[in-house]
Amino acid sequence: MMAGKTLFDKIWESHLVHEEEGKPSLLYIDLHLVHEVTSPQAFEGLRITGREIRRPDLTFATMDHNVPTTDRSGPISDPISAKQIEALRQNCKDFEITLFGIRINSHSQGIVHVIGPELGLTKPGMTIVCGDSHTSTHGAFGALAFGIGTSEVEHVLATQCLRQNRPKVFEIRVEGERQYGVTAKDIILGIIGHIGTAGATGTVVEYRGEAIEALSMEERMTVCNMSIEGGARAGMIAPDQKTFEYVKDRRYAPKDGNYEKALEHWQTLRTDPDAVFDKSVTLDARKIAPQVSWGTNPGMVTDITSKVPDPGECEDSSKRKSMEQALEYMDLKANTPITDIHVDRVFIGSCTNSRMEDLLEVAKLVKGRKVADGVNAMVVPGSQLVKKKAEEMELHKIFTEAGFEWRESGCSMCLGMNPDILAPGERCASTSNRNFEGRQGKGGRTHLVSPIMAAAAAITGHFVDVRGWEMEKGV
């Protein structure tokens, strides 16, 4: 008898265009998302070779990495950023690609991984690529979504296909019910802390189990978003009623009879009970506390109730060295309680945590409270649609009254390609996905946390266990 198939197997097999012994498979790509930083050289390649875009109708672009999050009515002050943004606009015009820019269709502009789902471009069962490692976000819909390099961007533009070796499939189960104050971000940081930053290399992860099924769509996006921080090519969650409801009626969702047809297919996108995974690990959600990263990669993370680890207790010499380097960069001493770490800046945003639910939870926590003296805190919505909705709900007033800055949408301080950066030595509680050296600005020190943990750190000026905090119910 043939073994059952995983969700991954089903999507992979239904997208095979060509297979040949000894060669990678040729996979069809249903949706190609493009942004300004990793695409100009790909378009240039097409021009040089005289190639065209095979499916401009399956290609969508936005500008997010470079865009200012302050007033955008004037020209962009950084001439090199301006040039890159102009290049995307021109490329989209020349090659007839739909663009959600800061001047064009600007009401739908936003972080590429926020707007894909928001506009209904992201749907279950699809193959989705983008020249961006956080493309794994879209796996929350039961899609196979992964980041690619610029040469591959060019390849997809020209052929709508990609050559790929079949990855292994890694099951990560999270069982049990999470505690109050523990978020999707803590679940994924807990997972990465457990498997390590290369623990899922060469695999596509399927997240399963009670705690995963209980997540909302936006929470699932947070989990899948950080799959790459565990080394995975992609992360995915089987679609269910929540997924179908989320997609329905969105701008690019299937309409009329097509939705029913789609639904019929989407309901088959589940791992068969007798399917076999290449690798498997199980975590208990009840044991996951709010997480705070202490080092310079997302695997260097611990519980809020814990202390900065002591490299002296690490037996592996390369790991010890890497811990020592991380603590030196972070200017932290071993055995310091996490709650003793003070912050200068707080960043709430990024493709990990900048959606409506993130902002709502933060608003509930900060309503009636004030950002601590000396702390600079900002909220950067993931998209213009998120911004608009938050403003309709008057969340921006809660943020600004509490002392947060309220910005325009973009990647912002997650990677600091625009003017939103940390000064050398500044320490930041950040809801983003990478705490690499210099990620948020040269010499800047990043601690990855959930939105409510970041908000609580803004209020107290240091990390604090949010499980002891009351949330305002009237928001």
Binding site: V17, H18, G22, P24, L26, Y28, L31, P40, Q41, T49, R54, L58, H65, N66, I80, K83, Q84, K123, M126, G131, S133, G147, I148, G149, T150, S151, E152, H155, A158, T159, Q160, C161, R163, T197, A198, T201, G202, G231, D249, R251, Y252, P254, K255, N258, K261, A262, H265, N297, G299, S318, K319, K321, S322, Q325, L415, G416, R434, F436, G438, G443
Partner: protein
């Protein structure tokens, strides 16, 4: 793409784990719209002090590694962002081969688009090579992709690599031309899939 068959030359040792692409090429240099001009910014934040002077503590700034074309490093090299600017910078700075116990997936794939050979070593082999490079100034290796071998003073071993990836480097193949040869298969797939999964097409009839 330029072919890669044999590479001989000095080895530079970067004894750090999890070197991410933000370190390889920091974000402030990603704004160029060309494929070139990244080499001088390789490991920029490690290479230079805040005042712009050369950081003498950074391993790769040692004169002994000047003109190295092989980079020896540790686990999970190239993790993080998918930026192909990372292999562009590495290549432009003169490196054609990277030796490490493991690589991050996207970076590994990007190497093969840029005529760079990433070789996966066992942990023991890595330790042995680090010892040889650190103890012998000017230590060189010969990497032969045809024979899948690495040879140097006091060491000789063969390595594994996917046959197709090897061919791509040996012959300097252009991926896109190869795929375009399968045009008929792509068209056939599209016809089939348009019928079966029409819902994939972005449908904007409502809510405009």
């Amino acid at each position: 793409m330029e072919k890669l068959q044999k590479v001989s030359g000095k080895v530079a040792a970067l004894d750090r784990m999890n070197v991410d692409t933000d370190q390889i090429i920091p974000k402030q240099f990603l704004k160029r719209i060309e494929r070139t001009g990244f080499g001088e910014f390789l490991f920029f934040d490690w290479k230079y002090n805040d005042d712009g002077t050369l950081n003498e503590d950074f391993e790769l700034n040692q004169t002994r590694y000047a003109d190295a074309c092989i980079l020896l490093t540790q686990e999970n090299f190239g993790s993080g962002s998918s930026r192909e600017h990372a292999p562009w910078a590495i290549r432009e700075a003169g490196f054609r081969v990277i030796l490490a116990p493991s690589f991050a997936d996207i970076f590994y794939n990007n190497c093969f688009k840029n005529s760079i050979l990433p070789i996966v070593l066992s942990k023991d082999r890595t330790d042995e090579l680090f010892r040889l490079v650190l103890e012998n100034e000017g230590y060189s290796l010969e990497v032969d992709l045809v024979e899948k071998s690495v040879t140097g003073e006091g060491i000789s071993f063969s390595f594994e690599i996917d046959d197709f990836k090897r061919k791509v480097l040996l012959e300097g193949l252009d991926d896109i031309s190869q795929t375009l040869e399968l045009e008929n298969s792509i068209e056939k797939y599209e016809k089939l899939f348009m019928n079966e999964r029409e819902w994939v097409l972005p449908d904007e009839r409502k809510n405009l």
